[in-house]
């Protein structure tokens, strides 16, 4: 069953079409690789899935929810539900929820967590505090809880720390628990980003070039970790340039070139595909 389904997804920035009618789906429990030459639109697709961009055309479904679709734009003026969105009526709320654009944090709450291509940790905060960010959307304390610290809120704080520590241990960062994120070696920073994303308890984990900048040894460890994460029941979608990683752990691969999908299949099928070979080696042959 498809956990994530992308249908005719298109994103244009002015005259540039970054993603061009791409459709594919990610099945529950698999590791899917998204590859393609630089500028093929891979990261744009990730940003569309996580709600940082809205698509120009097309839709994305996650676990039955429509999480991305083109915004209403000026059509909102002729859309009755846009005018009625404030009404506290259940049927109106439901229809508006289907029509409105989800914010990135709402998509995270539905069960998608991501890492970034350029590491985006909270650099001046400790490893523990970074991972606690992932637990944020699973806890509720607000101003009242902060000021009066009722027992429930203290319990929640303990829960947050315990959860964060669990993922720190899983990623092998225990000894750096109170170290500032920016003082970590590069490879550990990549791991910390994954720990932070895992702490959000996603059903789908999106990794944007997790092996970039890692050495041989670290890459092997990372591949092991990704397999372990998948075995714990989390579906994985990843972008990666390191072919050893992609061919080694992905069960299926989608290849993009100039925003278009040019191939999809198992690593063996993709490697034999003439269009893929041309996209990657075309310049040398010409």
């Amino acid at each position: 069953m498809a956990l994530l389904a992308i249908r005719n997804l298109t994103k244009r920035f002015g005259g540039l079409t970054a993603v061009d009618y791409v459709s594919f789906s990610v099945n529950e429990g698999e590791i899917l690789g998204l590859i393609g030459p630089n500028g093929a639109g891979k990261t744009t697709i990730f940003n569309l899935i996580t709600g940082i961009y809205t698509p120009t055309e097309g839709e994305i479904y996650f676990n039955g929810h429509r999480i991305a679709h083109p915004p209403l734009g000026s059509r909102r003026l002729v859309t009755p539900i846009w005018w009625l969105q404030w009404l506290p009526v259940r049927s109106v709320r439901e229809r508006w929820n289907d029509l409105r654009i989800l914010r990135p944090h709402e998509i995270t709450e539905l069960g998608i967590a991501r890492t970034f291509q350029t590491i985006r940790l909270f650099k001046n905060m400790t490893v523990l505090e970074n991972v606690m960010a992932g637990v944020h959307h699973r806890t509720r304390a607000g101003v009242w809880g902060a000021l009066f610290r009722p027992p429930a809120q203290r319990e929640e704080e303990r829960f947050t720390v315990a959860e964060a520590e669990q993922y720190i241990r899983f990623m092998g960062l225990s000894e750096y628990r109170d170290e500032l994120a920016k003082n970590l070696p590069y490879g550990h920073q990549r791991r910390l980003e994954i720990a932070r994303a895992l702490a959000a308890r996603p059903r789908l984990l999106i990794l944007d070039e997790p092996a970039a900048g890692l050495n041989e040894q670290e890459t092997m460890e990372l591949m092991d970790l990704i397999r372990q994460i998948r075995d714990s029941g989390i579906t994985i979608l990843l972008i990666e340039h390191d072919m050893k990683v992609v061919m080694g752990i992905c069960e299926r691969i989608v290849v993009l070139d100039y925003g278009k999908k040019i191939a999809e299949g198992t690593p063996e099928e993709v490697q034999r595909d003439p269009r893929v070979i041309q996209a990657y080696l075309g310049e040398e042959e010409a």
Binding site: T50, I52, R103, P104, H105, T108, E109, A113, R114, F116, R120, L121, F122, K123, N124, M125, E129, M132, A133, G134, H136, H137, R138, T139, A141, G142, V143, G145, A146, L147, R149, Q153, E156, E157, T160, L180, K182, R196, A197, A200
Partner: protein
């Protein structure tokens, strides 16, 4: 230098906190009324600084119209007292609510703006409030002259009149504020503010509702500035649009930045530098402002992170060099 610091750090925090409180209570006793009033002003601006620090320091949002909320709180307290004869103390919750409500209304549509754009809108809002007050909006604000004839606050039958009464009143609220901001800082909400300040996109991707979190910073900071406005009315029974002058906002902003953005001791250092010292050196007249300018420029070159910065902010600022 290196030997006494670890020794000082061994003293339990409760001890030096209690020590500082006793000092603050005893401080005005040997002083004359003028210096007691200076202390009152210091305490009032420390409260304002701490409230602005929630917005500027914790959430990292530029707010250069904070005096507007201060004025709104003062006018709310004054108007309720003048028109409805409500005792001043009972108007204080209304001051907080009105300032917080305006904080909500003004920040809701502009929170997606970042950095300097947000700053410009807050300056404009401050001016809108001031001009509305000057132009006697709804015929109730008394125009440029403001409002006068406001009652004195009465606390358990004691009419608060002399500077020392007001000093202790402000001190009480200052301690309350300190308690609150320290708890906010070390909470789920406080962490969320820091995530937003450090990297908004990453915070959003981790499931932090950034709009809600920033809105809360604005509402809490504005509401508490309203409380400070009410405390002003409690001592000075005259309010005028001067409370919302742009320079007031700038002073509050400088209090936060001078001492070190996001740092609680920094706010006190900032208040000392922006309020207490200029008051003590009043005899220097306009030379005071000139020196102030020189000192600010020198500080921005030598110590951009502030005089007593929080550990984190120092790193954030020094990093960019």
């Amino acid at each position: 230098m290196t030997t006494w610091r670890p020794r000082l750090q061994k003293i339990p925090p409760l001890w030096w906190q209690a020590g500082l409180l006793v000092l603050a209570i005893l401080l005005p006793l040997p002083l004359n009324d003028y210096y007691r009033a200076v202390l009152w002003r210091t305490g009032l601006y420390a409260i304002l600084g701490l409230s602005l620090n929630i917005i500027v320091g914790y959430a990292g949002l530029f707010q250069l119209g904070h005096a507007a909320f201060y004025a709104l709180g003062a006018y709310t307290s004054a108007l309720l007292n003048l028109h409805f004869d409500i005792p001043l103390i009972l108007t204080w919750p209304a001051s907080i609510l009105v300032a917080a409500l305006f904080g909500y209304l003004i920040s809701r549509p502009i929170l997606h703006l970042r950095g300097d754009y947000l700053c410009i809108v807050t300056i404009a809002f401050g001016e809108v409030v001031r001009l509305a007050l000057v132009n006697n909006i709804f015929g109730i604000t008394g125009g440029a002259n403001g409002l006068s004839g406001i009652d004195r606050p009465v606390l358990f039958g004691l009419v608060l009149r002399s500077p020392i009464h007001h000093y202790y009143l402000v001190l009480f609220f200052l301690v309350l504020t300190l308690f609150a901001v320290r708890r906010l800082e070390n909470s789920r909400l406080g962490r969320a503010w820091m995530y937003v300040r450090e990297d908004e996109t990453a915070a959003e991707a981790m499931g932090v509702n950034t709009t809600r979190v920033k809105l809360l910073a604005f509402v809490l900071g504005s509401g508490w500035a309203g409380m400070a406005g009410a405390l002003y009315v409690a001592r000075v029974p005259v309010v005028s649009p001067d409370l919302a002058r742009f320079i007031e906002s700038v002073i509050m902003f400088c209090i936060v930045v001078l001492g070190g953005t996001g740092s609680i001791p920094g706010v006190f250092v900032g208040t000392l530098g922006m309020i207490t010292l200029p008051e003590i050196f009043r005899f220097l007249k306009t030379w005071r402002d000139a020196w102030m300018g020189v000192a600010m420029v020198a500080m921005m070159i030598a110590r951009p992170e502030g005089l007593w910065p929080s550990r984190r902010i120092r790193m954030e600022i020094r990093e960019e060099e």
